[in-house]
């Protein structure tokens, strides 16, 4: 079992959470050029190390939060913070 620390509920089984992907700031759609918008939609850094990501405690408090996770070992560090709620990528939504 892999535990993910929710800032509100504490460490919980990762199956309770929905993954929302790397935290990527959403560019302003009114001013962003095509390349910037495509980067935001599709391009990921896909690091094999520490990454700040957005998660959603779907089967718990139903809050969004961000946390750092090592994408090679699946360890997390620090506590989750309630930022990154709306600007996380769409990549995890349907998986």
């Amino acid at each position: 079992m892999m535990l993910l620390p929710c800032p509100w509920c504490g460490p919980r089984n990762v199956t309770e959470f929905a993954y929302r992907g790397e935290n990527i700031a959403r560019p302003d759609p009114n001013t962003a050029d095509k390349a910037t918008w495509r980067d935001y939609l599709y391009y990921r850094s896909n690091r094999a190390g520490w990454e700040r990501e957005g998660w959603f405690h779907r089967a718990g408090c139903r809050q969004f939060f961000s946390i750092e996770r090592n994408r090679t070992t699946n360890e997390t560090r620090g506590v989750g913070t309630p930022d990154g709620a709306g600007d996380a990528a769409h990549s995890g939504d349907s998986r």
């Binding site: 199956t15 939609l41 599709y42 990921r44 094999a48 699946n74 990549s91 998986r95």
Partner: protein, 428 residues
């Protein structure tokens, strides 16, 4: 005891695998020719292929056999076939959703069907028939769509009802009382399975015999680019200069491309699979259920091979999880309740380089001479031969073959996505 004959003929190593040569080798005790010869890493090759899986080795094979290019090194950080090529569920099919996809995967099927003869190696290809189940109206509509696209491309596919499914797979619960009743299926008779390790070994044996250097335990740690052109790679065994560098590293592909300064729309997800103890043959067809996130086939040894959708979050970890096994067992039993007492032998995970449109990314990059054959997600193994053939043509001629032109990297900036989600994955 039979005394070996000691003529000149008997000491010559036997190269070709055939019934006659097995008999001859049995009598004369002549040695079999070594399959993988270790080489010193040279300071320069015309072509460096990163990744010794089915894609990398197939490219090396078609470079040598179709274009006569053998100054090639295939580098792998572990042993050949240690990544996705040895971890997939070895299912072959070409019943995709886009005409471009169907054409592409069907060429791969054609190469796979003749691969044993082409490589002089028994790759154990078995045409079994492939069933993609639909448990709701939306899925059934997609199956009908796929069947029509397939037929237009000359690929044998048809939607069948529960009665026909029951005839093909008698152990399946096709009743209306199932939790997710089966409404129909896309039946694709040419689909089948193959021995994935044998495909890797067969290609490796051929390219090695033609003088291509296969370097195992050789990890690429950097790629040199000068003036927008690739000049070589740096490895744990030394630097290698090369005019062309090809990235065939699937799950790790974005890390390799990053070394050349090329970013890609790829995110790596683990995918888990499992195998049961062997039982007598009872399941001929390959059965896939998108709604239940599971696919099942029975190997020639009698084991049932189960695959699933990718894990719910991106990672480079290949550690399995109990949630996967529990979910998988539940879904398999919903399809075939009589398997309840079958025991699982083992499970494993492989890495999938998922793209936003569930289609691969193949061809040139902004860095001249740095080519990619990546984004293979959950469908890379079945495309190995056609990718190798096309990438070899690109390396040899410098022109992108028509069959892979729709899968270029530029499609993400030009709004030409190749949506294959309805046919490429089970997790939706």
């Amino acid at each position: 005891m039979v005394r070996p004959l000691t003529s000149k003929l008997s000491r010559r190593p036997v190269k070709k695998y055939s019934a006659v040569n097995i008999l001859r080798q049995g009598i004369t005790r002549a040695p079999w020719a070594p399959v993988l010869v270790p080489h010193e890493l040279r300071g320069r090759y015309d072509v460096v292929i990163i990744g010794g899986g089915v894609h990398g080795l197939a490219t090396a094979h078609y470079l040598a056999s179709n274009h006569g290019i053998t100054d090639v090194a295939v580098l792998d950080k572990s042993y050949i076939g240690s990544g996705g090529s040895g971890r997939n569920t070895a299912i072959l099919r070409s019943n995709y959703l886009t005409p471009e996809g169907v054409r592409f995967y069907d060429r791969s099927m054609e190469l796979y069907r003749n691969l044993a003869a082409d490589l002089n190696f028994n790759v154990m290809f078995a045409k079994r028939g492939h069933l993609t189940l639909a448990h709701n109206d939306g899925s059934l509509r997609t199956m009908r769509w796929r069947a029509e696209v397939n037929k237009l491309q000359g690929v044998d596919s048809e939607v069948v009802g529960p009665a026909e499914i029951k005839k093909l797979v008698p152990y399946m619960d096709t009743s209306e009382h199932a939790r997710y009743p089966i409404l129909g299926a896309l039946y694709h008779p040419p689909g089948g399975i193959i021995r994935h390790d044998a495909v890797v070994w067969g290609y490796a044996r051929q390219v090695s015999a033609r003088g291509v250097h296969i370097h195992q335990d050789t990890e690429v740690r950097g790629i040199d680019v000068a003036g927008g052109k690739v000049t070589g790679v740096r490895t744990n065994r030394g630097d290698v200069a090369a005019g062309t560098v090809l990235n065939c590293t699937a799950g790790w592909s974005s890390l390799i491309s990053e070394m050349a300064g090329v970013s890609m729309p790829v995110e790596t997800f683990p995918l888990q699979a499992a195998v049961t103890e062997p039982v007598r043959p009872f399941l001929d067809a390959v059965v896939v259920s998108a709604s239940l996130h599971v696919y099942v086939s029975q190997t020639d040894r009698g084991e049932l091979v189960f695959g699933a959708s990718v894990d719910p979050f991106g990672s480079y970890s290949m550690r399995g999880s109990l949630e996967f096994i529990e979910g998988l067992a539940g879904h398999v039993l919903e399809l075939m309740p009589s398997l309840a007492k079958l025991r699982l032998l083992r499970s494993w995970a492989g890495l999938c380089d998922m793209t936003p449109d569930f289609s691969p990314i193949m061809g040139e990059t902004p860095v001249q001479g740095f080519l990619i054959d990546v984004g293979w997600g959950t469908y890379g193994f079945k495309a190995g031969p056609v990718s190798g053939e096309a990438m070899a043509e690109l390396v040899a001629t410098g022109k992108t073959p028509e069959i892979i032109a729709p899968f270029d990297l530029a499609r993400f900036t030009d709004d030409r996505l190749m949506g294959e989600k309805g046919a490429a994955s089970v997790g939706h």
